[in-house]
Structures are given as C-alpha cells and as structure tokens.
Subunit: 292 residues, 2 copies
C-alpha cells in the first residue's frame, strides 16, 4: 500500500497532535476521509468545527471499523485499553500506528493486544507545551523529525508506507528500534522535562518573581500537561532514571570544579557546552528545523 491508496485515516484522540494530524492529512491528501474519535463530547464538537476531521465517533469500535490506517493520538496511558477495545474491529490489512513519545511498552502492548494486526510505532517530534484541539495547526509537523520504530517482525511495506506518510507531512523520518528510541529520548527529551519541573519545584515562588528570561526558557517545558508527561515518564522510567543519574554525575563534576576554584576547568566546561549547542543550532538551521 502507498499513501495514494489510503481512502480513510482514523485518528484516536483529538488534541493538539491528533487535531493537527487531521488538518495536515487534509492538506496533503484532500480526498482521504478523516475519521475521529474522542471520549469527550465537547472535544468531538470542537474537532469537527475546527475542520480537523470529517466525521467524529463516540464509539471507538465504529471509528476504526472502516479505516485503512488508525493513529493513536491520545496519552500513552490510554493505549493498552484502546488497543484491546479496537482489536476485533479493525479492517483486515489496516495499519496501526501512534504518535506517543515512548515506544518499548507501546510496541509490546500492540503485540499483546492487537491480535496480529500490523502495528508500527511512530514518534512525530512536534508539539509544544500547549494542549487541546484549539491549538491544532496544519503545519505542526513540518520540518520536524519523526522516528518510526520497526521490530524484526515489522513488514517492509509498513515501514515504507509510514515513512512515505510522515515524509509527505513534511517530516524528516528516521528509523530505530523501540529500545534505542526510548534510551535516546530519555536523554534528549524526558530528562530535560524532569529537570525543568525539578528546577521549578525547588525554587521559592517569591524569589522566582525576580527571575529573568533565562529561567523561563529553561523551564518552559514544565508547563506541559502533567498527565501526558506522567505517561511518558512512567513508560520510560528506567531509561529516565539512568539519564538523571548521568546528569547528576555531570553536576557533581561542576561542584568539584567550583569547590576547587578551578577557573580554567570551568571555562572549558562552559565553552564546550557553548560550542556544542551553537553547532547543534547551526545544523538545525541548515536543515530548516528552526526558523531562520
């Protein structure tokens, strides 16, 4: 199957990611019918009004029944139940994917609950600290990275379909195993989130009123939805724990430098970080992953 053969896509969960996905699909493939599910009536209504999908369902099993592709776009903590509920209602040949931020457990659940339906995990790395269908935008996925996480059992044609799908939506697609994905994301995404929350929590609220833009930027992601991040961290707890441990080691090295009044070493650390981050930003600019 190729994307041009898709007649309908079903999106389960119509928040920022699900809503934006519906809009983006419509822009690229205006003939694809977009079916949407949310357990909340008000979300279904807003999703329809905002044009994110063509039709909404209160009943999950009816939503998926006629879809060529099903995308789970609700918080990860809901996935196991959703998979169990929909397994008997998928059309033969239906491809199931998701937009969750962790992959090992999700892939395991799919194997356990989807009764042989073809599943391949996706992690489109788009979004913001905003939530809800009201923030949905057709260009959310453009110029961002997407990781698909095949296993040894994934069909090659499924990899190709999802690669084509996310690429058509403007994403830079790469592939890695669920295990490598989760280990990597713990370091570049889940750890920074824990850190931002810890930094806010350890600070005195009165004191914080004096803070500058630096503090606000460093902690921006702490304003993300607690429920979504609970699910991410709980389904990647071991890797996140290890990443925190690694950061603590790094911080202890800084403490030793400060305690030893070792200015030369401190400059080295700061300069290394500056150069490394500036290189990263330059590369992202060249790839157009950042606005110029």
């Amino acid at each position: 199957m190729h994307c041009k053969d898709l007649e309908s896509v079903c999106i389960l969960g119509l928040g920022l990611l699900g809503g934006s996905l519906g809009m983006a699909v419509n822009r690229v493939w205006p003939n694809v019918r977009r079916l949407g599910y949310s357990h909340r009536a008000v979300t279904r209504q807003r999703a329809l009004e905002a044009g994110t999908v063509d039709e909404v369902f209160e009943d999950l099993t009816k939503a998926v029944a006629n879809a060529d592709m099903v995308v789970l776009a609700s918080p990860i903590g809901t996935f196991a139940n959703i998979m169990q509920e929909m397994a008997d209602h998928l059309r033969p040949g239906c491809i199931v994917t998701d937009v969750g931020s962790t992959k090992v457990l999700v892939t395991r659940w799919a194997k356990q609950y989807l009764k042989g339906a073809e599943f391949l995990g996706s992690h489109p790395m788009a979004g913001s600290e905003q939530r809800g269908v009201d923030f949905a935008r057709a260009d959310l996925f453009e110029d961002a990275a997407c990781i698909i996480t095949p296993t040894a059992k994934t069909q090659q044609s499924t990899c190709e379909l999802l690669d084509e799908f996310w690429t058509a939506l403007g994403m830079r697609v790469s592939r890695m195993s669920p295990a490598v994905h989760d280990k990597t994301l713990a370091r570049i995404s889940h750890l920074p989130h824990v850190l931002a929350a810890a930094l806010v929590n350890m600070s005195d609220a009165e004191e914080l009123l004096l803070c500058g833009k630096g503090f606000l930027d460093t902690t921006r992601i702490a304003s993300g939805p607690a429920g979504v991040w609970h699910d991410i961290l709980m389904t990647n707890a071991d890797n996140t724990d290890r990443a925190i441990g690694k950061l603590i080691d790094e911080l202890q090295r800084v403490r030793v430098v400060l305690q030893n009044d070792d200015g030369k070493k401190l400059t080295g650390m700061l300069e290394r970080a500056r150069v490394k981050r500036d290189d990263l930003v330059a590369k992202k600019l060249r790839r157009k992953e950042l606005p110029a």
Copy 2:
C-alpha cells in the same frame, strides 16, 4: 544628587549591556554626555558608530576623570583591576556602580580599592545569550528587574539616585543586601546556567540532532559567553554549589518516584511544577515583564 543633575556618565565596557545603557541614557536624558571606555580599538569604533556613547577613551583614567557617574559594564573578572586603576582619578562626589551579576565580591572590592568613593552595586537583569555592542538596543532594560545592593555604609542619597536612574530606564528596582542577592541569584540564574551547560555536555552530539524545541529552549542559556559566565560562577561559587546540591536532592526524589513506579506522586510533582510556572508567567505578564 538627582538624575536631572547628571552631566556625564562614564560606561566602562561597551558590550551588549554597556552599549545598550549608553543608548538608553541618551533616550531618557539627551543632554547627558556619555563617555565610553573599552580596551579594544574595534569595540570603541563600533560603539561610536552605533551611537552608544558620545566619546570613547583608550585610557580608563581619562574616561572616568570628568564623570558624575561611572558604570562598570565589563565582565566581573575585570572589576578589581579597573577599580584599582581608576580610584585616584574619580571626580569628588562621583557615584560608582556596575551591572555585574554577582555582588558580594564586587562590593568587597569596591570597599578595598575605591579609596572611599561612593559605590553601590546594581544588577539590571536584562540581556540575552547575545554579546557585543552590535546587539545593543535602547530598550534592553525596559520592563525588566534591577536589584541594587546597598550595605550599612551606603548613603541614602546614593540609593535614591540609582533607584531613580534605573527606574527612569524602565526597570523595576528592588533592594537587597549583596549576600541575599547572591544567594537568590544562584538559585534563579546561576544554577539554570550550570544545568543548561551540563545537559548539553552530557549529551551525544549525534543524538542531539534528533532533539526538539524543548531541549533547545532548556539549554538556550548555555550559548551565553563562557568568559562572562566563568566570572559569574567563580564569584558566586559557594552559593552556586549549594544550589546544585539542592537540585540534586530534588532529582533524587524524582528517581525514587520512578524506581517505585509511584505514578500518583509523579503526577503531583509535575502538576505542582506546571501550576507554579504558569502562575509565575501570569504574574510576569501582569507586570508587563513578558510580551503579551
């Protein structure tokens, strides 16, 4: 003395802060003569061309000789030498201040080196990760906080003058002792910087190419100039060390929660951080310290 009586202000160091200060002073008091010093010829030329000051000096002692107010705006590490060099050349009654990010050592140096000249530390909390006179702007200080740090010996009239000075430039001025200032800033500014650098340094450069906007925001301040931050951290090493220790304690609590699979407690932590940061942002918006 009141600001309206100022005839000349001398700015030592013509980078982002010094250059912006010159521009801001000119906007509020167009009749005040702005004298500038930089040890670099190219900076002196750019500072003049950009209209940040009216006159530049290669010789520090000549720069300060006719000034009613002298502002140290170079990296903190240069302050002790500058103070020693200028002490004998200050006009009687001249007020000396600075824009440095730490205050205990700076205040001690002033007492030690300025031979009785009136010094009162200032910390205008404006700036960015950019550096250099080319980024100077007249509105850099607007709607930002400024802390002045009097001691028991500071004259009341000096406090009033500097309060009036920074307020006229658009800042929200507060007062605290040098010791309280440094302890507070360690937590809300110096710790976040150490953290951003540590997060970048612990990460694999290849892996980082996959990072999203969250990581880039969390680490933005790590792109700040290493030399400036070396001086800040080295002159506030004890407080920064303690702040890192406090953060490590907070991170260890998160690890315990992850290791115990305690989802309820994790949600509590994340939600507490989210509410606290959102409150902070709301307050900053009300105070117009953030763009609406």
